[in-house]
């Protein structure tokens, strides 16, 4: 019964979503609001029925039979509901309609809201039609099996159970940003008020996307068994492109909201972010590429997604081409100003997104043309990384700049200690670690950013003492924390990439190996049984700084799925992780196993930095929500050049 109920609820959601889009784009009014909330409720309940089917192991539901198993722990039974194509499509619909419902509840009722809900209804309708026709999760089996087919064991992991909800809140969330942009274009009103109303949604989606991507990277780091957290894999790039455009968007929205400038560009980014989300979904789900992350692929779905992408993108661009030329420029400003800095940010981030796009799709075209070509880490490290490094050099200056016009000379003078510190630390890092000079640019830029942002923060606090720290506006904190996170991330990522060491030792019982000052003694392997897997566990005695402990890297085999995973044994040290993987036994030499030992310096800075970026984004969102003025129709005046929030520094000459 429960699956039929879910099916029915999805149809009800389809009906309300369709009415929501028709009413929203025509008459508007209170009914649109109620319909949007209803659509959200129906999809939520529909998702719940699917989760119940998974938890109660209703194997008469085809999807449950294929993807669950009685031996699976409860949390993965729940996560199993979206750990497959059909279920993740329902999650997609849920998040899309959820944004619609949230918009209905939180946005002020006017034409912009109604039309945004209308467009969102249209997107939700299309998604639900696709769900119900091409990938229904509610299909029953005539002859239910006694037990299920299990789940890809790689996905049986806490980080990856949470990864899809966050990732989707991110890039499906861009759909609502898209909808408000489309609504603004239909209304012909892309102004400061519009930007102010898009911003919380863009911040929500972008921050959630940051968390989603980070969870994916953490999962790849410890679960795939080679200790890599980012490999410029097409699937990773697919989520990174909307992230980059989203990052550009949350910055250009500031410019448009505060100054009324760059409206046409901002709305273009708002449209583009969701188009890239769709493109990413197409790349991941259609099977046009191979990747360690690509689960649930099917060429036929690809065609449908491609049509959806073409329709959505085409219509949005047509709308844009119709309205954008009529949008007026904002007030004038000097190139050296906060406006200029934000434009610089957008220039680099959007060229970066174009770079990632070309680097991702070119090998696919090459393959179609039978040209042998791969594009991977070395390419992005030599193009994307230096480009972003240059951008980050401007970050502290941009943060301290003033609207309209900024005097560069006093700024440069002010930040010299940060520059000196950066140079000293970078040289010190090479000397102390004895590692390649490749760490220099990254550490230099990272330290410069962290120190520069901290100095700017100190300047804003002023000499008034600790008490004033808490009086800084939340937006300033959000910005500073996100920027410091970026700096820490860059330090971590470059150090990890340049100074990580990895070695594979063929070891027999009792043999010792040494690495990074640690001693490892291989004490053999034993077999054990987990809830739904068999495991080969190695006993490795590690000694470091006089302490001894036994660690257990594992190789798990999941008989139901017929595949296995490697479970690395990871030990944290202040300087980084020691990472031990049990490899395969060597065929020609019985009793000898390959043990991979790696040292990943500053790896926590990578994930911690990314986490801070997301926290900064959420703080900016919180500031935005708190500051929200009581519903007024008129626009606030353009902030004066030396507004308190933007610049605690000296006022700019007007």
């Amino acid at each position: 019964m429960i699956a039929e109920l879910g099916h029915l609820l999805a149809f009800l959601a389809l009906a309300t979503a369709a009415s929501q889009s028709v009413l929203g784009l025509t008459t508007g009014g209170e009914a649109v609001r109620r319909l949007a909330v209803a659509t959200g409720m129906f999809t939520l309940l529909s998702m719940l029925t699917l989760v119940i089917s998974f938890v109660t192991l209703d194997f008469s539901v085809a999807l449950v039979a294929r993807n669950s198993h009685s031996l699976k722990p409860i949390i993965y039974r729940i996560a199993g509901a979206w750990g497959n194509h059909e279920g993740s499509m329902l999650l997609w619909c849920l998040i899309m309609s959820g944004y619609g419902a949230a918009g209905a509840l939180f946005m002020r009722g006017d034409r912009l809201r109604d039309r945004a809900l209308g467009v969102q209804g249209l997107l939700t309708t299309a998604s639900l039609v696709y769900l119900l026709i091409a990938s229904s999760p509610f299909i029953r089996l005539d002859n239910p099996p006694l037990d299920g087919g299990g789940m890809n064991p790689l996905l049986q992991d806490p980080a990856v159970a949470l990864h899809p909800p966050f990732l989707y809140t991110g890039y499906v969330g861009m759909s609502f940003v898209f909808s408000i942009a489309a609504a603004g274009l239909i209304n012909g009103k892309i102004d400061r008020e519009w930007a102010g109303r898009v911003r919380p949604w863009a911040l929500t989606a972008w921050s959630a996307l940051t968390i989603g991507i980070t969870l994916g990277a953490i999962w790849a780091y410890y679960e795939l068994g080679w200790g890599g957290w980012w490999f410029w894999d097409p699937v990773e790039n697919a989520s990174f492109m909307p992230w980059l455009v989203g990052a550009a968007l949350v910055h250009s929205l500031i410019l448009t909201e505060k100054r009324g400038s760059m409206a046409a560009w901002t709305v273009f980014l708002a449209v583009l972010a969701f188009c890239l989300s769709l493109l990413g979904t197409f790349l991941v789900r259609s099977g046009v590429m191979t990747s360690v992350h690509a689960f649930a692929t099917d060429p036929e779905r690809g065609i449908i997604l491609l049509i959806g992408l073409a329709l959505t993108g085409g219509m949005a661009l047509a709308l844009y081409a119709w309205r954008a030329p009529k949008l007026m420029a904002g007030p004038e400003f000097d190139p050296v100003s906060r406006e200029g800095a934000l434009i610089l940010n957008n220039l680099f981030l959007s060229v970066g997104a174009a770079l990632v796009l070309v680097g991702t799709v070119t090998p696919m075209f090459a393959q179609a043309l039978n040209i042998s070509l791969s594009i991977g880490e070395p390419y992005f490290q030599l193009t994307f990384a230096p480009m972003m490094a240059v951008l980050l050099l401007f970050m502290p200056l941009a943060q301290a700049s003033t609207w309209r016009r900024t005097d560069l000379a006093p700024l440069l003078k002010r930040f010299w200690p940060a520059a000196v510190l950066a140079v000293v630390v970078a040289i010190g890092a090479v000397v102390i670690s004895g590692k390649s000079a490749w760490v220099i640019p990254g550490v230099l830029v990272g330290v410069w950013v962290v120190a520069g942002v901290a100095m700017d923060l100190a300047k804003r606090v002023g000499p008034g003492g600790i008490g004033r720290v808490f009086r800084l506006p939340l937006t300033v904190w959000g910005m500073a924390i996100a920027h410091i996170g970026m700096g820490l991330f860059v330090i971590g990522a470059t150090t990890e990439a340049a100074a990580r060491t990895e070695r594979t030792f063929p070891m027999h019982q009792g043999e010792q190996a040494e690495m990074a000052g640690w001693t490892f003694r291989f004490d053999g392997v034993s077999s054990a049984e987990g809830p739904n897997y068999l495991t080969t566990r190695a006993d490795i005695t590690v000694t470091h700084d006089g302490r001894t402990e036994v660690i257990h890297p594992e190789k798990r085999y999941y008989p139901v799925a017929g595949s296995g995973t490697t479970e690395a044994a990871i030990r944290k040290t202040p300087g980084g992780d020691v990472y031990v993987v049990l490899g395969d036994p060597i065929r020609e030499e019985p009793g000898v196993w390959r043990i991979r030992i790696a040292h990943h310096p500053l790896i926590d800075w990578v994930f911690g930095g990314a986490g801070l970026i997301a926290i900064g984004g959420f703080m900016a969102l919180a500031a935005r929500l708190r500051r929200r003025a009581p519903a007024t129709e008129q626009q606030p005046a353009i902030e004066p050049s030396a507004s308190g929030e933007a610049t605690a520094a000296a006022g700019a000459p007007a």
């Binding site: 012909g188 791969s374 880490e377 070395p378």
Partner: protein, 136 residues
């Protein structure tokens, strides 16, 4: 010559090169050569037998004093350009390397030109409202 060959034989599975500089070069090559039986993995990360062989081949050749490019060519000649995560720096591959910087420079030049033109004009007093309302 014989000494070199002997050394190559003595290199056991994943035995690092004695010279740390050479080992570092070898490791960075291992990160850009693709394991030919895996899905989108470099040989540095794979535990497949062939990846072990490929790692050994890289170390042997670096140990013999070959340049990074010679090692890359060894693999691309054998398996095609597909085996290298680093696109070629000749022919059309050059376009791939140049386009991001060209795009950045192009747009920056355009923006810079516009900024330069307006630079010498005085900023007008702030004006506001009604801006960008083109709904009529």
């Amino acid at each position: 010559m014989i000494a070199v060959l002997l050394m190559a034989f003595q290199l056991a599975v994943d035995e690092p090169l004695p010279n740390p500089r050479l080992e570092e070069r070898a490791q960075s090559l291992m990160r850009e050569i693709r394991c030919v039986v895996c899905e989108n993995e470099p040989v540095s990360q794979s535990t497949a037998d062939i990846a072990v062989d490929m790692r050994r081949a890289i170390r042997t050749q670096i140990g013999e004093g070959k340049s990074d490019d010679q090692v890359r060519h060894f693999f691309t000649d054998k398996y095609g350009q597909f085996v290298s995560f680093r696109p070629p720096t000749e022919g059309l591959g050059l376009l791939l390397w140049a386009f991001p910087f060209a795009l950045l420079a192009g747009v920056a030049a355009f923006l810079g030109f516009r900024a330069f033109r307006s630079r010498h004009r005085e900023l007008s007093p702030l004006a506001d409202d009604g801006r960008n309302d083109v709904s009529g």
